[in-house]
Amino acid sequence: MIQNSTAVTSPVAATRSTSLIALALSAVLGLGVVFSVGLAQANALHDAAHDVRHANGFPCH
């Protein structure tokens, strides 16, 4: 049992930094999607997402 737990310590430490990058990437991607749907002022995007913006409380018009 003890051997097992020490054996997995280093892989877990190694995955911790890659997992931080994955977490950050996910958040950046999420910000991009929310910005595009909710805030970007490009006309085509605004028209297509118009009703969703109003219904979800984003400032519109």
Partner: protein, 234 residues
């Protein structure tokens, strides 16, 4: 891990976004279409003749409503991509994560992204008077960020100092005030605008609560197949 985050977010976002969109089309869209009749001048509030409160709003518009469904699913996927990393960090720090705690995560997401800015900048129906859109967006983003930091301080710290800081962050945007129009010249009756704000909040609360529950569920389900988790539990 990244694949696991993306797939969980897409499943949760698509599911919650679809349900939110159906609720939106049922409860919010008729109010919005009604308001647009006043925005376009087809109906006139306080005109020469009394106006019926129950006009014909037309049926389903496949193109327009289809886009709403699509964008709602996209938006909720975006929310899930933001929510899941925070859930994962909390889980790494020993917090349990399941459908029930996911519900709380979702409700807090609603408070941060919908309710905090909406407390002063109420969900706007088309045709109401409003200040410059960029000024409102700037205030909106600032308020969401402040509320998000405040929620983190309340949930994850144990010091009175941090909690007071959270209270200040929650109050400050509303004490400073959101950009307001010069005068109230909106042509939409207040009855419609009030119903719209209430319905928008209600649908969003359901959508967010489901999103949190779904995100936690898919995150946990995918852990069973993840090699990293198997190594840890071996």
């Amino acid at each position: 891990m990244f694949t696991r985050l993306i797939t969980s977010a897409v499943f949760a976002g698509a599911g919650a976004g679809l349900i939110a969109a159906l609720l939106q089309l049922t409860f919010v869209q008729p109010v919005l279409l009604h308001a647009e009749l006043y925005e376009s001048g087809q109906l006139v509030h306080f005109g020469a003749e009394a106006v019926s409160a129950h006009p014909d709003l037309g049926g389903l518009d496949l193109m327009r409503d289809g886009l709403s469904v699509l964008f709602s699913m996209l938006l909720y996927t975006g929310y899930a991509l933001l929510l899941l990393p925070l859930m994962a960090i909390a889980e790494q720090r020993g917090q349990s994560l399941d459908g029930k705690t996911g519900l709380i995560w979702g409700a807090i997401g609603f408070l941060v992204i919908q309710f905090a800015p909406g407390f002063t900048l109420a969900p706007e129906v088309p045709g109401v008077a409003a200040a410059d859109v960029f000024a409102r967006q700037f205030w909106w983003v600032g308020t969401v960020v402040a509320a998000g930091v405040a929620a983190g301080l309340i949930a994850f710290t144990r010091s009175w100092f941090a909690w007071i800081g959270a209270a200040v962050l929650l109050l400050a945007p509303h004490l400073i005030g959101a950009p307001e129009p010069e005068s109230f010249a909106g042509p939409v009756p207040p009855e419609i605008a009030a119903l719209f704000a209430a319905r928008a909040f209600g649908v969003a609360l359901v959508g967010w609560a489901l999103l949190g529950a779904f995100a936690a569920y898919f995150w946990r389900t995918s852990a069973v197949h993840s090699p990293a988790t198997q190594a840890r539990s071996a």
